[in-house]
C-alpha cells in the first residue's frame, strides 16, 4: 500500500466504505424516494413535514433510584431543568422479576435494592412518586420495560390518573414491554414465556385501542438488541420482525385491522452509538422500511398508519469508565446522530454511565447536551439536512437492503419469537460482542482513554452516584403496613379474578386495574403469572 492509497474500511456492521462517494453510488436508488419530502410516505426524510420547526424532539431521560420519594424528586428536577417527558426506572430485583421485597432472592441482595431503579411495588407507591407531577399534561413512560412488568405499571399509572379524575382517553404516554430487553439483553432469573409475553402485549395494545387512544402501548427497543451486540442492520431487521409478531397477534384476534394496530406499534426505540453515519442511515432507513412493511405485508394504504416514530437513545455501552468527562463528547455525537436521523424523542446517557446510575449533575449534563443541540446550534432549522448526500443515501440504501435480508432470515427460522426461543438471536449478538471486544483488545478499534490516549493530565474522579441506602428497609415497612391495612378480602378476590383472566382468554388489563386498585402487590401479581404462565426456558447460559 502506498502512502496515498486509502486503507480498506467498513462500517461497524461490515458495510464496505469507499474513500469518497459520487453520483454513481446513488444511481440505482429510486430518485423519487431520495427526492421525497418529510411527512410524506415512505418517510425516508422525516416523520413530519415541518420536523423540528413544528415538533421539537422530546427530551426524554431515564431516571429512577431509591424510594418513591427519591424517584419523584429526580423526575421533578429533570422536568424543572428542561425535560419534556419522563421515564421511570424501576428496581430490577422486584420489578423485572415481579418479586416482593421479602422474596428470598431479593433479601439475599437487599443492599442492591433501589440502586438502579426505584422501589415501587403498589399503586400507593405510584401515588407517592407522582405527587406534584402534572401527569395530565406530561408525556410519561411509567416503567415496564420488561414484558411481564408492563401490565402492572400501566395499571398503577392509569389508576392514579383515574384517582385524580383524568379521563383515560386523554392520557398520553408510552410503555416499552420490550422483547429485546426481556428476552435478549437483560434476561431475568424468571420471566413469563415468550408466547405469554406476546399475549400480555397484545392485551395492552387492544386495551389502549379501546380506552387510551393517545397511549403507545408497546415500544420495540432495538436499542436493547444493539447494546447486546446486534449490528445496525440486524437491529433494524429484528425490530421489523418483532413488529410483525405484535401486529399479527392482535389482528388474528379479529377485532382490529393492521391499520388500526400499526400506530400503537410504530413508536420504536433505536440505539445510536459511535458509528455516526451508519446510525443516521439506520434511522432514515427504518422509516422507509416501516412504510413498506405496512404497505406490502398488510396492504395498509393510509399514509398516516405507515409513519414510524423514533425514540433514540445513546449507547450506554459506548460510555467509558476511564476519563468519564470524555463521555460528554460521546453523548453529544451519538445524540447528534439521532437528531440528523430525524428522531422524535431523545435520551442521552449520563457521563457516569459506566460507573453508576446518573448523579443529578450527570443528568443535568444530559439535559444540557440536548438543549445545546436543540436551541443553540441551529440544527433544527432544516429537515433531513443530510438528505441527498451521495454517501448518506448510498449507506441508507445498503443498510436497508441488509436489514431486509436479516428480516427474511428471521422469517425463514419461524419468526422473531422462534429466534428468541432457539437462541439464534443471542448467537448473532454474541458473535458480534466477541468481535467488538477483540477489536478493542487488538487496537483495531480505538476507544479513547481505554486502549489509546490513556494519559490523563488532571484526573477527574467520578465516584459514582450512590443514591439511598434504606430502600429495602423502608420498602419492607411499607409492604408490611400495606398487607396489614388493605382490604384483605378485596385484594384476595381481585387476585383470583386476575388469575382467572390470565388462565382464560379475556383481556388481562381490566382485572389488573382492579387488582392494583385493591393494593395487590407486584410480587402477588408475579405469583399469579408464574402459576398460570410458567417460566421461559432461557436458551443461553450465562
Amino acid at each position: 500500500m502506498s502512502v496515498d492509497e486509502p486503507d480498506e474500511r467498513t462500517t461497524s456492521s461490515g458495510i464496505p466504505l469507499k474513500p469518497v462517494y459520487g453520483a454513481e453510488d446513488v444511481a440505482g436508488i429510486d430518485a423519487a424516494v431520495i427526492d421525497g419530502r418529510p411527512g410524506v410516505a415512505p418517510y425516508l426524510r422525516g416523520a413530519y413535514p415541518g420536523m423540528y420547526r413544528t415538533k421539537p424532539w422530546r427530551i426524554f431521560q431515564l431516571s429512577g433510584f431509591g424510594n418513591p420519594e427519591d424517584e419523584g424528586a429526580r423526575i421533578r428536577f429533570l422536568l424543572e431543568h428542561g425535560e419534556t417527558g419522563f421515564i421511570m426506572e424501576h428496581d430490577r430485583n422486584i420489578a423485572d422479576h415481579l418479586y416482593d421485597l421479602d422474596h428470598p432472592d431479593v433479601v439475599a441482595r437487599r443492599e442492591d435494592v433501589g440502586q438502579v431503579g426505584a422501589v415501587i411495588f403498589s399503586a400507593r407507591d405510584y401515588r407517592t412518586v407522582l405527587d406534584g407531577i402534572a401527569i395530565e399534561s406530561v408525556y410519561a413512560h411509567p416503567g415496564g420495560g420488561v414484558v411481564q412488568h408492563a401490565p402492572f405499571t400501566l395499571a398503577c399509572y392509569w389508576t392514579e390518573a383515574g384517582r385524580r379524575g383524568i379521563p383515560l382517553e386523554t392520557l398520553y404516554g408510552t410503555n416499552q414491554a420490550d422483547f429485546f430487553l426481556t428476552y435478549v439483553g437483560c434476561i431475568t432469573k424468571q420471566q413469563v414465556p415468550t408466547q405469554a409475553g406476546l399475549r400480555l402485549n397484545a392485551d395492552t395494545i387492544e386495551f389502549c385501542l379501546e380506552h387510551l387512544p393517545h397511549w403507545v402501548p408497546v415500544s420495540i427497543a432495538g436499542y436493547n438488541g444493539a447494546d447486546t451486540g446486534l449490528n445496525a442492520w440486524q437491529e433494524l431487521g429484528a425490530v421489523m420482525a418483532n413488529a410483525v409478531e405484535y401486529i399479527d397477534a392482535v389482528v388474528k384476534r379479529g377485532r382490529h385491522t393492521a391499520a388500526e394496530v400499526a400506530p400503537g406499534v410504530a413508536g420504536v426505540n433505536f440505539r445510536t452509538s459511535m458509528d455516526f453515519f451508519e446510525d443516521i442511515a439506520k434511522l432514515r432507513a427504518s422509516r422507509k422500511m416501516w412504510s413498506e412493511l405496512l404497505r406490502r405485508r398488510y396492504r395498509v394504504t393510509d399514509p398516516k398508519a405507515q409513519r414510524l416514530r423514533i425514540h433514540s437513545l445513546t449507547a450506554g455501552s459506548a460510555m467509558t469508565y476511564q476519563q468519564p468527562l470524555n463521555n460528554v463528547v460521546r453523548g453529544t455525537l451519538m445524540a447528534l446522530a439521532g437528531v440528523l436521523g430525524g428522531t422524535q424523542s431523545l435520551g442521552v446517557s449520563g457521563y457516569d454511565e459506566a460507573i453508576s446510575v446518573p448523579s443529578e449533575h450527570a443528568h443535568q449534563m444530559s439535559l444540557r447536551i440536548q438543549q445545546i443541540l436543540q436551541s443553540e446550534s441551529r440544527l433544527t432549522d432544516v429537515a433531513d439536512p443530510l438528505g441527498g448526500s451521495y454517501f448518506i443515501e448510498s449507506l441508507t440504501a445498503e443498510v436497508e437492503t441488509r436489514a431486509w435480508e436479516f428480516f427474511e432470515q428471521i422469517q425463514s427460522r419461524g419468526g422473531f419469537i422462534a429466534c428468541l426461543d432457539s437462541g439464534w438471536m443471542h448467537a448473532r449478538a454474541s458473535e458480534n460482542q466477541i468481535k467488538l471486544f477483540d477489536e478493542i483488545e487488538s487496537g483495531a478499534r480505538s476507544v479513547v482513554g481505554v486502549n489509546t490516549a490513556k494519559g490523563d493530565a488532571g484526573t477527574f474522579e467520578v465516584e459514582g452516584f450512590r443514591g439511598t441506602s434504606d430502600a429495602w428497609e423502608r420498602g419492607m415497612e411499607r409492604l408490611t403496613a400495606l398487607r396489614r391495612n388493605r382490604d384483605a378480602s378485596r385484594a384476595r378476590e381481585t387476585t383470583q379474578a386476575l388469575r382467572a383472566a390470565c388462565a382464560g382468554s379475556t383481556n388481562v388489563m381490566p382485572a389488573m386495574m382492579d387488582a392494583v386498585a385493591a393494593d395487590v402487590t407486584v410480587g402477588e401479581i408475579g405469583d399469579v403469572f408464574r402459576a398460570v404462565f410458567g417460566d421461559w426456558k432461557v436458551p443461553i447460559e450465562f
Partner: protein
C-alpha cells in the same frame, strides 16, 4: 506446563441479567484454556454450593450492584473455602475497587483489557494447577 486445566466459576451477584460482559469474559477465559462453569444470578448460598459441587480453582464475580452484596459473598466463601481465590468485574465504582483491594480481591471495572483478566486468572490458579 500446568498439569490440568484450571476451572473457573463465574457468577452474577445481582438480579440484573445483562449478560454481555460476563459472556465476553467467559469466552476469553475458555479461549485461554480455562474451563468455565457458569452459575448465573446466584445467591451467596448458591455460589457457595456451586463452589463445593464444581470443584473449581477460582471464583469470578460479575457485579452489577452494591459492594455490600459482594462482601457477603466473599465472607461466605472464605468461611467455607478459605483458600479459594476470588476476583470480580463489572460496574464497580472507584470506592468498590478500593474496598475489594482491602479484601484482597482484584476488581476489573469496564474497559479492563481481556488480557489483564486472563493474566489474573492464570496467576490466581497457578498454584492449584501445578499441585
Amino acid at each position: 506446563m500446568p498439569n490440568r486445566r484450571a476451572r473457573v466459576l463465574l457468577a452474577k451477584t445481582g438480579l440484573d441479567g445483562h449478560w454481555r460482559g460476563l459472556s465476553v469474559v467467559a469466552h476469553a477465559l475458555r479461549d485461554a484454556g480455562f474451563e468455565v462453569v457458569l452459575a448465573g444470578m446466584a445467591r451467596p448460598d448458591e455460589i457457595v454450593a456451586a463452589v463445593e459441587q464444581e470443584d473449581v480453582d477460582l471464583v469470578g464475580l460479575n457485579v452489577g450492584g452494591r459492594i455490600e452484596v459482594v462482601e457477603r459473598i466473599i465472607e461466605s466463601l472464605r468461611a467455607t473455602a478459605p483458600a479459594m481465590p476470588i476476583f470480580a468485574g463489572g460496574t464497580l465504582p472507584p470506592a468498590a475497587i478500593r474496598r475489594l483491594r482491602e479484601l484482597g480481591v482484584d476488581g476489573f471495572p469496564p474497559g479492563s483489557s481481556l488480557a489483564s483478566i486472563v493474566e489474573a486468572a492464570r496467576r490466581l490458579t497457578a498454584a492449584a494447577v501445578e499441585d
